[in-house]
């Protein structure tokens, strides 16, 4: 299952046999968690980072008055909180959107790995910087795109991220209800519902109880003015 993690790295950078071996050795046996489990609690000290082998996770921040913003979604192959290696505590929560298979990698192992294999250190640093790039793209989405554009951009992003790790990017279970989509896109569940219907009527996207079906990727990209470059699929050698 670690194959997806390797695929994600290989989508951007080469990996020597030696490096691949070191990564495989890094990852302890996995465990399962059910949908809606909270994997990481805001503010709690972390000694491990969670590699997501299968399933979907999200990161989210809550406000005192109950408002919630989902700041990122993770797919199989992602290190969900590698940034905790340096931050030690996170200012957000992480929750399973679907049943998930996880592996908890001790920070101590990561420290040793990046010291012994500096190039892998740069690759993992790259990985957290790539997450940040997605955060910036979501800022763009939240600040500048219409409701329909935000929805379209989200599904375009997920499409490419899933394809990259050899999953079906056209039809997948996102495990999010409309209220959760609303929390990710800075809108209300009611308006998500109406906008989803609009996208369905236009034969762009069909979303039914967590099951996403991309009907017209190019149409969604046009609607979102989607520009792939923020996913760094053409990364330079490190």
């Amino acid at each position: 299952m670690i194959e997806r993690h390797l695929a994600k790295i290989r989508a951007r950078h080469s990996l020597s046999a030696d490096e691949e071996q070191a990564i495989r050795a890094l990852v302890p046996p996995s465990r399962q968690v059910p949908r809606n489990s909270i994997i990481v609690h805001e503010g709690k000290r972390l000694e491990v980072s969670t590699l997501l082998l299968d399933g979907l996770l999200c990161r989210y921040k809550d406000m005192p008055d109950g408002k919630r913003q989902i700041t990122q979604i993770h797919v199989g192959g992602d290190f969900a909180d590698l940034h905790a290696f340096t931050l030690k505590r996170l200012e957000h929560n992480i929750m399973a959107l679907t049943d998930c298979t996880l592996s908890a990698v001790p920070h101590e192992s990561i420290r040793v790995l990046v010291e012994q294999q500096p190039r892998l250190g740069r690759l993992y640093w790259f990985s957290t910087n790539l997450d940040a790039s997605m955060n910036r793209e979501w800022e763009l989405s939240l600040g500048q795109r219409s409701a329909a554009g935000r929805l379209a951009a989200l599904f375009c992003e997920l499409h490419y991220r899933l394809v990259m790790v050899d999953m079906n990017g056209d039809s997948f279970n996102l495990g999010m209800n409309q209220a959760q989509l609303a929390d990710a896109l800075g809108m209300t569940a009611v308006h998500v519902n109406r906008t989803l219907r609009m996208l369905r009527d236009q034969r762009l996207l069909d979303y039914h109880r967590g099951e996403a079906n991309i009907l017209d990727l190019k149409g969604l990209e046009m609607l979102a003015e989607f520009d792939l470059s923020y996913l760094y699929l053409d990364a330079d050698p490190l």
Copy 2:
């Protein structure tokens, strides 16, 4: 002038004399650039990262139809594009908001430094992860806060970031006109104007032609439901 950079690091982590020396040795002589200069162009390959010694910068993304989102603001002491050390090309531009003093640090120097001093490597990795935390907070702001809340949150953040590097956080020149504030906050210049007047009438903030005057920090924090923790001022040892 590198003192601000050291102060920013010291606000979160200890620094040995040896480490401080290594950082000082890293930074080449500075240069000046005028207000509104574009420091980094989207997509261009970078061999150096820019340390901002004095002045204000912003990162922004443009859309084909002319919409623009400012995704982050940098103050003196910040490494404005340290993430380019691993990304090599950036998906956004970086522009000087005020006249700036910059130092261009070669990626090759950074590579040598982090290999020879792994702890400094973790500190700089932390620094890019801290930037990402601010991006997530801006996502929260753009997605969940009202226009007034977004404005308030921005000035609260700038206050603390400036104080941390021994600058005046109550009264400072941000160098942004109302249209630029609008691009940062996902609203229109007209509405920025009206909201600014509201904050002035409520004696919370006075903003006049780029000059910010925080009149009531606690009031702004309450309005924004501001929570400092995302700035990681109480970081754990690395």
